[in-house]
Symmetry: C2
Amino acid sequence: MTVLDIDEERLWTRLMQLAGIGATPGGGVDRQALTDGEAQAWRLVIGWAAEAGLEASADRAANLFLTLPGRDRKLPPLMIGSHLDTQPTGGRFDGAFGVLAALEAATVIAGQGATPERDLVVVAWMNEEGSRFAPGMMGSNVFAGFRPLEEIRAAVDTRGISAGAEIDRLLSAFPELPVRDPGFALLAYVEPHIEQHVLLEQAGKAVGIVTAIQGKKTWEIVIGGEKGHAGTLAMDRRRDAVAAFARIAAALYAGIGGYDDLVKFTIGRVDVEPNAPSVVVDAVRFRIDLRHPETTTLQACAQLVQEICAREAAPCKVEVKPLVSTASTPFDEGLRIMLGAAAAARAIPAMPVLSYAGHDALQMAGVCPSAMIFIPCRDGISHSETEWAEPAHVAAGARVLLDVAAGIESFVR
Amino acid sequence: MTVLDIDEERLWTRLMQLAGIGATPGGGVDRQALTDGEAQAWRLVIGWAAEAGLEASADRAANLFLTLPGRDRKLPPLMIGSHLDTQPTGGRFDGAFGVLAALEAATVIAGQGATPERDLVVVAWMNEEGSRFAPGMMGSNVFAGFRPLEEIRAAVDTRGISAGAEIDRLLSAFPELPVRDPGFALLAYVEPHIEQHVLLEQAGKAVGIVTAIQGKKTWEIVIGGEKGHAGTLAMDRRRDAVAAFARIAAALYAGIGGYDDLVKFTIGRVDVEPNAPSVVVDAVRFRIDLRHPETTTLQACAQLVQEICAREAAPCKVEVKPLVSTASTPFDEGLRIMLGAAAAARAIPAMPVLSYAGHDALQMAGVCPSAMIFIPCRDGISHSETEWAEPAHVAAGARVLLDVAAGIESFVR
């Protein structure tokens, strides 16, 4: 059997070509969702895909699919990819690396001459970044069935233009493209991405097998007390909001901060009123940032936030306002084993890593076995013109993806 | 025996006349220490004192004395009075009431025809307010021997003029005045003053017998941690300054806030850096305001501040910077009993009250038995143009002072 391999130079060259669309003077990329830039990017990758014999199609959420047809087109396909949109001050790798690594893997598999058993689909999800139309992960969210298409079409950008109008405009620019309804059965989903953190770099690893995307919950807590003179008001008549904050925060750090080795608990913002040295404080507002890779633990800790605030606030009042709530998402264990085995077989230094940010794989994990491949990015910097990934790491991540995509038939039998 | 009594109308009229010196359009008084206004005030009260047969003198700290000579001039005299200087936005009663109530009492005693056994001295202390030359209570501080005269002479105002030069200027305006060295033996000191708080008003009392001036200690505490990402930095590697603050503040409120019924413990100011919701905080600066009427308790609580900060800060660093430290000063029990008996004999509603602010009596308590008489001021407002005391309360306070001054010989025998 021939050992398949990616074309490192082709992949790197395509990454740099793609980065030319929306290129900023400082070396970054501004190619926000559903802009003319994204349409140009579609045109480029659709062209590359056609050269490899892949069929382009889209869905009504403006997700782009590049499909290598299999022998039995009714079997649920393997899907690989990421997104083509960027932050307004984005870099060359966030999203683009995943789409082009997937295209490279599909191109290599297509080039071997044999038809795979099932379809292999390269995907470019619509609006992962959420910078133009909030929130992000829109395309995958609709594809996975978590939000109705009409709801995301109603989102508007700062100029009052709706996502729906821009989806229609993008699709109408590609009249030859078949457009289906979002959502179809998948065998599995694998997304390559830059890590956007320093763990791989610090450990000297070329590839990270992502264990999970940690969930996140944030709150604003408002403690209401009563103003008073520091020198005269008897302690037992005070409703001192700083005293209540101290009890609440100490109990939260003790109860949640030490919950297990994985929890992240932070009070990063604290605002005190009137904030004068000799006045008993009547209001403390603070923010809680809670993260954990396991949903049940995240929920248990969220329950503790409620309980501790309620228990420790008296004689002050307390208001617990939830702000953000993102589910914790562990990735499929079978896929993770395959990814690790593929890296080991190639002697690519790899390690399990947690994802601290959200990705389209977060949505897909809700509908099929999903996984992610991380590669290091310099100093963990992302969403920045200085975002950078080493060509060797780009190649390593693509190789692991290729091997898993090529070998996945054995995985499902 | 004739019952002595004050002349209510004379006292009130003099208060209003004195308030004309430095009068502000809004009904207040701006008559700061060692200004031409204070010299005018001296001239006025020296004139009133001369009418009553009192001898004017001063000391080199520009404290003014108006003495009713006794039979034995070697006996330590009773001293009564307060101060004539005001805040720049001061009122008509703070200080002036004490000096004029004392002058009224001495005038009445002088007017009865019999010579008292010992001197009775009405005092107007130099620079109680500390608004022009900081800190306040300068004259009494030097008189009591707690600070050398040369040190306070070196203080300068915002225009660069020294207190020493202004003392010399004031004294040279009164060339006829004998000037002695500050400090001489006293039998006792009694100071009438407006309460500058609402306790008497709320209780419906005309007079407060001041139990003590509570001591005060303040600190700035700086907790030094390390910045970090709320989503990625493991809890056991964090040096979270908010977590340390919560532990420290909770322990301080529990340990000191509940120390006894008299303690006042306040954290009124808290500043957090960088104060962003998803960043582990690397610095918390906060202020402690601690007050207690008993010195030993104040010191014990101050020790707790040090211990708790040191114990709870790790893994952060903590710096405990003392700012203000004023001793707690209980007033003489014998004098307090006399004041209470005098009020009771006249059926003047009186109650014991704590003084939450410093007064010249704080200094004098260090050198002789001392006491204070408070009268209510409207809504507790002071250092303001709207400062106001009822004529009936002014008279009540002066009557209690008169009776104690007239009767004090029996007290010391």
